[in-house]
Symmetry: C2
Subunit: 235 residues, 2 copies
């Protein structure tokens, strides 16, 4: 995508009840963990859904192969890093201790109505350790950036996406605050991302959480033939 963060998403229809509605107050268990290479098929599908959401499928050319060859090439947090959001109707088991890079974050949400996930088979998680069904609900992709004024790194959030049926339940915030917590843990100075100027709901959401929207800066992009031409000015 251009350089984007999707949440909070456009209004979605109210969650629809399952055929056999369960009592209200149903717990939904969520976990944010580091992505691993076997997550790539899910990540690819999530990125495509994001392109559809943003009506930018004409710009979408990523393949599972192109993601595989460019992601997971360095240890987490040193370069491009992905957190995966997983959801389950059963509590997640404790993480094996101590985690090498990142201790998964769990949270429990109480739902008024159960969620009908029409893509639960497609997004079944690859994590075999749980012993019960877990689905992938979203992701955040981020990487270090650098502030010369601060003289220290930060994190730039390139993408933040939650599948439609799981929106408006705090999972976008769960993913973004996991990035913020990692930034603080590493002594980094900032977390940054971009938003479309007409996405007033998103802007309000970000301002409410304490972020500043920089009104004066515009992104410049050199790509395609213009990049090739500029790289070889003598030709």
């Amino acid at each position: 995508m251009a350089a984007a963060a999707a949440p909070p998403p456009a209004p979605t229809p109210a969650a629809t009840a399952l055929p056999n509605p369960t009592p209200t107050g149903l717990p939904l268990f969520s976990r944010v963990r580091l992505a691993i290479p076997s997550d790539i098929p899910h990540i690819h599908k999530l990125i495509h859904q994001m392109a559809v959401f943003e009506r930018l499928t004409h710009l979408f050319s990523a393949t599972e192969a192109s993601l595989s060859s460019t992601l997971f090439t360095s240890p987490p947090f040193q370069s491009f890093t992905i957190f995966i959001l997983e959801l389950s109707q059963a509590p997640f088991p404790p993480s094996p201790s101590p985690p090498l890079f990142f201790s998964p974050i769990t949270q429990t949400t109480t739902l008024d109505l159960p969620i009908d996930d029409p893509e639960s088979e497609t997004f079944k998680s690859n994590d075999k350790d749980c012993g019960f069904d877990v689905v992938v609900g979203g992701f955040v992709l981020f990487f270090p950036n650098y502030s010369t004024f601060l003289g220290k790194p930060g994190f730039y959030v390139e993408d933040l996406f939650v599948r439609e049926c799981y929106r408006r339940k705090g999972f976008g915030k769960m993913l973004l605050s996991a990035v913020a917590a990692q930034a603080v843990k590493m002594g980094y100075g900032r977390v940054e991302w971009v938003v479309l100027d007409w996405n007033v709901n998103a802007i309000k959401f970000y301002e409410d959480m304490g972020a500043k929207v920089l009104q004066e800066w515009r992104i410049c992009r050199l790509t395609g033939e213009a990049l090739q031409a500029y790289a070889n000015p003598a030709i």
Copy 2:
């Protein structure tokens, strides 16, 4: 700095002649090379000049120590990378072959009037191999970013700065095209940076070189106490 690229800079006074003006058509030799840790004192001074230029010195808190501890921590191009612009009145010697990461780029500019560099002592280059005076005239700091739509990395240019007396002579373009050439060499899809929306000269310069200015996107930034608070939502 916020996230910025300075050139083309604000109008500068015409270059003033040296006490003993040399004939017109004077050659000025320039070289773009990878920065090394011993360049940090010069880089620190250049960043400070950039803060002054942007009237943002209140945001400037970098020190040589903070730069030293956060830069040069990984091989060039994998993370934060700096190219240094050097200038000399004598031609640069050929680079030792083959260079490990980057082959320096040289260029010769013919000046109508010699340049009076009032800071030539302060910015004397650390490169002892030349056998003649070389000054540091600017820098570009960049690092990989990632496009999930392309499924490939790009480069983000955080800072591009040329000292005042060397502006308007193509050195900003020399630095930026060095980044573009490296991106092409690595098979990367984009080079991106930001510009202030009121800097119409810069916007025209970037559009003329084939870059697109993305009008709809705004940068969001979470920093300071708001970052700390968001990272620990339970507190």
